[in-house]
């Protein structure tokens, strides 16, 4: 396990390092002044510009420049936005909170709905409900998020008037932004209308969470069903039945733990898909998160923000994938054995 962990962590570090090299070189490929692209300081602000040029080693070789870049980057100095002149890293943290809140809730919802429905379908294999569940999941899986989101907005917000369509909270509730996660921020605030604000926040939250959860949820459903069916055909299940164990006991003690193994392996992939969907969802729902921030920075050609957003997204995805892989290897020793046997 230690060897495996080290290998994964080394891979993570190498990937992150390559990412910084990529980001560093982007500054040269973007149009305009390289130092401005990197720090967000315009040449018209000559004093700060000179100071930045010095700090970034712009009078020495490209390797020194890269090392300085790495130094600044790792210490949280990601430059300032070209449009707002605010510190990119400080701006990023609450947005990360907003994105994490959405993605964690969506992931939870996907698991809560996807896995049991997959189980259910597997139990009813080839029955009517199996076909219904699988049919619905396949069609839901093939609907693109941007379209689904608009459709649900039209239905739930415009036609039925159940939910608002944008943002985290009715802005008239004056809640200070600390973590960026609206639920945590409300709980931490001392606003006299806390419970009303919380209800309003949940009211804003459920639609984007459902939109986001549908893709990973349906994936989970199909994976769970297939892997259940596979496990159900194993000899040890037949043996358990022959020994007269109850159906429920077989299901929860023998089928489920084994069936979950391929499901866990796919969680990382699901998270990556969720992340690309979250960008679209955040834009549609005006959600103050990394995704909408990144898209906006592309429109505005705000290169320091663009880099910060890219790096944050890539790191998040890599990190979650490594954690999932580590958990998978730790939880299912047979996977580890397969891995070692190859070498």
């Amino acid at each position: 396990m230690i060897r495996y962990t080290l290998r994964r962590l080394t891979l993570l570090i190498v990937t992150l390092w390559l990412l910084t090299v990529f980001l560093f070189s982007l500054n040269y490929f973007f149009p305009g002044d390289t130092l401005t692209n990197m720090t967000g300081i315009r040449a018209s602000d000559s004093l700060s510009y000179q100071l930045a040029a010095e700090a970034r080693g712009f009078d020495s070789s490209i390797f020194t420049q890269y090392l300085r870049f790495l130094g600044h980057f790792s210490s949280g100095d990601w430059g300032q936005s070209l449009t707002t002149q605010r510190d990119v890293f400080k701006q990023l943290l609450p947005l990360l909170g907003g994105t994490l809140e959405l993605s964690v809730l969506a992931m939870l919802l996907a698991m809560v709905i996807g896995a049991p429905l997959g189980l259910y379908a597997a139990r009813q294999q080839r029955g009517a409900m199996d076909r219904v569940v699988m049919g619905v999941s396949l069609s839901a899986y093939s609907v693109p998020v941007f379209w689904l989101a608009q459709l649900l907005i039209l239905l739930f917000a415009v036609k039925l008037g159940w939910t608002p369509i944008s943002g985290q909270l009715n802005p008239l509730f004056n809640i200070d932004v600390q973590t960026g996660s609206i639920i945590l921020d409300i709980l931490a605030s001392d606003n006299p209308y806390k419970s009303a604000a919380l209800a309003d926040a949940i009211n804003h939250l459920w639609l984007p969470v459902i939109v986001l959860a549908i893709m990973p949820g349906t994936m989970l459903m199909r994976i769970t069903r297939n892997s259940m069916l596979e496990v159900l055909q194993q000899n040890y299940i037949r043996a358990a039945r022959a020994r007269g164990l109850s159906e429920l006991r077989i299901l929860f003690r023998h089928v489920l733990p084994n069936a979950m193994q391929p499901v866990v392996r796919q969680l990382g992939l699901m998270f990556s898909i969720l992340m690309s969907n979250i960008i679209v969802t955040e834009v549609i729902f005006n959600w103050p998160g990394l995704g909408s921030w990144l898209v906006k920075s592309i429109y505005e050609r705000d290169y320091p923000v663009l880099q910060g957003g890219l790096f944050a997204f890539a790191t998040l995805i890599l990190f979650v994938n490594v954690v999932v892989e580590l958990f998978h290897a730790w939880r299912y020793p047979q996977v580890r054995k397969e891995l070692y046997a190859e070498h």
């Binding site: 449009t83 707002t84 919802l109 809560v112 709905i113 049991p116 429905l117 259910y120 907005i153 917000a157 415009v158 008037g161 159940w162 939910t163 608002p164 369509i165 944008s166 943002g167 009715n170 802005p171 008239l172 509730f173 004056n174 932004v177 209308y193 009303a196 209800a199 309003d200 949940i202 009211n203 459920w206 005006n286 103050p288 909408s292 921030w293 906006k296 429109y299 505005e300 050609r301």
Partner: protein
């Protein structure tokens, strides 16, 4: 198997728990959400000309020395209680109102009320190049440069604590009109000095302090601007305790948010959808006559637009009536010149080019471009009162130009980036417009086509003709309105001959709001004001009877 049922039910139960409750919560009753169309460039209108910035700042955070009352067509006292001209119109004396409180916020507590120093500070900031704040946050004061105010005023002097004198280089009929615009706001000199001592003068335009009816609280780019009522306001304080601008650039989304009640007021609703909105009981549409002009400006420094024949050719090649039909849904008038009908110097003589593709072709032939050419049309990414859909307008123009063999590419950027690039004159031609800041006809010419407006970001045609400028100066120096009207006709025909821009339309400015909201004011000259806005105690009942 009960367990399955539970899992199927869980999401439905969660959903049911989340449906909104109907009971009213105090902050929602006492606040108003305005879904604005974009981010302000800063929180000081002196620094910009964009309508978005004006809407977010002037009438909310600040006050002016005097205001223009559109109904009475007269200047009314604001921070100045009275004023009079001295020395044959070359000196104006303003008597200030006593006991005007500045905003008291977490970052600044005023120790005194408004006095003459504040007025001198606010004007010297853009007037005096040696002023410590002149270069702060860019040092560009486009309105004052374009209107020539910076060359008109020779100095501003405090006579005593409540009296200020403005010395003019010559008498000027548009002086008071310019002071009554949304740009001539009064800042706090004390706040300025305090920030200077702290070494962060740039904060003056980011965390503003003014005397206006609302106190700035918080701004999150692309999300919200939050204001709070100024309880010690010198006029009757605003009725709403809280005012929030929810930034929503997408016009469709703005309308949906109005329908769902997330916005109480929206500017620039989509014209095509207006009819649909009007039928909804809980939504009202208001329109105000807006002194504006939508035009298509050629960058006269970029070939081939340095050739007047090419400009005339393109002006004759587009079918403006079709554009008005499609884009404005007949909510606009075909422009007959640069001045709109609302201006007193307007004359109904048509000073524009009719739709005549044959003539356009002939003109291009004459200019040696018979085979056509390729260029860019820049189209605004946002809706403005004068143009609800510049992208679509660009497409129509593109199609018209294809008929005479000219290929147009449509270019657009995010609004603030768009304006920045325009100032750098990167465009070949641009679809944009102008909303008058005051009732003086001069406001349509010097800012748009005067030499002083070059490089400040209002002269989109990048056009400077000394002879034309002389004509404009002549028109300002004239005090008699009939004479001035005649002079502005000459100005119009000059623009017609040279065609640096093609006037397209004069339109109404629309707002849509929930029917329980009243008192939102959109003056003809200037930005939206929420000072008198209030919400019915019981939503959606009283208004229906009126």
């Amino acid at each position: 198997m009960n367990i399955w049922r539970f899992w199927l039910l869980a999401p439905i139960v969660t959903l049911a728990a989340c449906t909104p409750s109907d009971e009213e919560v105090a902050p929602l009753q006492e606040g108003l959400v305005y879904c604005s169309e974009g981010n302000p460039e800063s929180f000081n209108p002196q620094l910009g000309t964009s309508g978005t910035t004006i809407d977010a700042t002037s009438a909310q955070i600040y006050d002016r020395l005097l205001d223009y009352d559109d109904e009475q067509q007269a200047f009314v006292p604001a921070l100045a209680e009275s004023w009079h001209a001295l020395d044959g119109g070359k000196r104006y004396r303003f008597m200030l109102r006593p006991k005007v409180q500045f905003h008291d916020t977490s970052w600044f507590s005023p120790s005194r009320t408004l006095n003459a120093d504040d007025v001198v500070f606010s004007f010297n900031r853009w007037l005096n190049k040696q002023h410590p704040y002149h270069e702060v946050n860019g040092g560009n004061y486009p309105f004052f440069t374009a209107s020539g105010l910076n060359r008109l005023i020779s100095k501003v002097e405090a006579v005593n604590g409540t009296t200020v004198d403005f010395y003019l280089r010559r008498s000027d009929s548009s002086f008071l009109a310019n002071l009554a615009t949304d740009f001539a706001v009064i800042l706090s000199a004390e706040y300025g000095a305090e920030l200077l001592a702290q070494g962060q003068p740039e904060q003056i335009d980011k965390r503003p302090i003014g005397t206006g009816p609302f106190i700035f609280k918080d701004f999150r780019k692309d999300l919200i601007i939050r204001y709070q009522r100024h309880a010690d306001y010198w006029r009757t304080p605003a009725r709403m305790k809280q005012l929030v601008y929810s930034i929503t650039p997408n016009a469709n989304k703005r309308m949906l948010k109005l329908l769902t009640g997330e916005c109480d007021v929206i500017p620039y609703p989509l014209v095509d959808e207006l009819a649909k909105l009007d039928t909804a009981d809980n939504i009202k549409i208001a329109s105000t006559v807006n002194p504006n002009i939508a035009f298509w400006a050629f960058n006269t420094e970029h070939p081939p637009f340095d050739n007047v024949l090419v400009r005339r050719a393109l002006a004759s090649a587009i079918n403006r009536s079709a554009i008005i039909q499609t884009i404005y849904n007949d909510n606009a008038k075909l422009a007959t010149g640069v001045l709109p009908e609302t201006s007193w110097a307007y004359s109904p003589v048509d000073q524009t080019y009719g739709y005549d593709p044959e003539r356009a072709k002939a003109l291009l032939e004459q200019a040696g471009l018979g085979d056509g050419f390729e260029f860019d049309i820049w189209a605004m990414p946002v809706q403005r009162a004068y143009n609800p859909n510049a992208q679509k307008m660009a497409e129509l123009i593109q199609a018209d130009l294809a008929q005479i063999g000219v290929r147009a590419n449509i270019v657009t950027y995010e609004w603030n980036a768009f304006r920045r690039r325009l100032v750098r004159n990167e465009h070949d031609s641009v679809l944009i417009g102008w909303i008058a800041d005051n009732a003086d006809p001069d406001n349509f010419f010097r800012p748009l086509l005067g030499c002083s407006a070059l490089n400040v970001g209002t002269n989109r045609a990048n056009w400077c003709e000394p002879e034309f400028d002389d004509l404009l100066m002549q028109a300002i120096a004239e005090a008699d309105n009939d004479q001035r009207t005649k002079l502005y006709q000459e100005v119009e025909s000059y623009v017609y001959r040279e065609a640096p821009l093609v006037p397209i339309a004069n339109s109404m400015r629309f707002q849509a709001y929930r029917s329980d909201i009243h008192g939102v004011e959109v003056p003809a000259y200037g930005g939206v004001s929420f000072r008198h806005a209030y919400r019915d105690a019981e939503p959606d009942t009283t208004e229906a009877k009126r």
